[in-house]
Symmetry: D2
Subunit: 160 residues, 4 copies
Amino acid sequence: MIKIFVTGGTFDKDYDEKNGRLFFKETHMSEILALGRSKVEVDIETLMMIDSLDMADKDRKTIVDNCISTDGDQIIITHGTDTMTKTAAEIGRRKLSKTIVITGAMIPYKFGTSDGLFNIASALAYVQTLPAGVYIAMNGRVFEYDRVRKNRDTGIFEEV
Amino acid sequence: MIKIFVTGGTFDKDYDEKNGRLFFKETHMSEILALGRSKVEVDIETLMMIDSLDMADKDRKTIVDNCISTDGDQIIITHGTDTMTKTAAEIGRRKLSKTIVITGAMIPYKFGTSDGLFNIASALAYVQTLPAGVYIAMNGRVFEYDRVRKNRDTGIFEEV
Amino acid sequence: MIKIFVTGGTFDKDYDEKNGRLFFKETHMSEILALGRSKVEVDIETLMMIDSLDMADKDRKTIVDNCISTDGDQIIITHGTDTMTKTAAEIGRRKLSKTIVITGAMIPYKFGTSDGLFNIASALAYVQTLPAGVYIAMNGRVFEYDRVRKNRDTGIFEEV
Amino acid sequence: MIKIFVTGGTFDKDYDEKNGRLFFKETHMSEILALGRSKVEVDIETLMMIDSLDMADKDRKTIVDNCISTDGDQIIITHGTDTMTKTAAEIGRRKLSKTIVITGAMIPYKFGTSDGLFNIASALAYVQTLPAGVYIAMNGRVFEYDRVRKNRDTGIFEEV
């Protein structure tokens, strides 16, 4: 059983017809897995629904605490890309004996051109095959948490 | 550099407006990787474009020969689901020291409801992390080639 | 209240996972109107679900009879494009004092690249504005039933 | 030849990956017409790319002036829904002998669930069939410009 913690980020942004802005309603994780016909056993839990630029220390603590307390040793976390590496570092320094893969999207899933489904599918594969550690999976690639950064100009995660 | 061999299958079926039937035109692999914003280096090569029910011994030989002769040791093969395990067995008995992941789709990629992109994304992750061997990646899961079958009733690949 | 008679055609073809062929399950008319957020009052009735090349005289009689017996005077008919003009001619020679718009699609609605939604939306507008008569609405245009043919080479309906 | 004036609105909003906000890049009109396989002759001209809440008097003057000066007598205007009726009123009081249909979308076209394509298709049909006048086409329906309002609670245009 893979635990999936949802924290918001671009990935889950929806369009608010009332005011013409993007907002968070609920996660699209279940419909993504259904579309992909995933038969992997997962347990989806929404910890928060926020833009990762708005993520405070207490939010990161919530994420870390949940990684520690959850039963399984395979965890996926969906997260905004802007501070993804910061959260990864917070989790990483706990040296948990679990495989934790953080992923997200550059374009909201509800947009036709989103990279969200692709990233979830690869995260799901990575979490089942990688040894214990904290990883970031984006653009089909996977990085150890302390050897990656988001290139602000290109929007691409790259090794450091 | 990951080698991607395209062989056809449901995955790449298109709609022929002239006669109202499904047919093969060209692979959608590049557009799938572009949509997923994949930054994984791949080399795509179309070996054939056929329904896997029409795949003859000589076609399987072509696939095996290409797996042997290609330079890299990470290979993805897109393949129709009906005889996927048969081709996997042909490759498997060569005991190549390469990681070879076979995947496909239950619904053509050009259908809005296709599982194709999801499967490609997971295959791309599996091929980068699994040890040498021949695998089938479907529905988010991965199986060793000699421990899986397609359940004809449900259309789902399951362990045997 | 606009009456919508569904007869099948490319428009409503689905993909059968079991045998890899296209088939008819049920019409997608309701989901198209929901996606378009249509607020037009309609009554959808499936008369048959067949390829228009398989449409026999008795099927055309069924369509004509229903056009005559239905209460309203605004009718849309979804129909395969191959024999659309033949059915239109059958209805046309009854000289009904109703506005009847026949439409369809070159690509099944379930394909991402379908013209189906576009054609339904325009048919819905045409049926509300045109005087009594029998029309074919395709490619954003509308034609009187006896002044149009499908160009087999291009797949486009054109005036004659 | 139908003139299509693009002014922005929800319809053409894109997602800006750099800052996670919606913005205007260029109109999607051509790709919508291509997807719908429209064979209607149109001339697309972008007058502005703004949210209709930001539309000033001078912007409305630009729209009115262009309606007057353009050669054809069939005009479609894409427009944000919030002040659509205000612009319609500005054009309407000129009593032009042209058929002018204003339309838009509640959800950006680039979202999978957009009503944009549906509205464009119906506007294209309405502009070809309605007599001279100024109209608003939304949700499959069409209204004379001075007999419609947007219901803020439901987001639906309704007759007054």
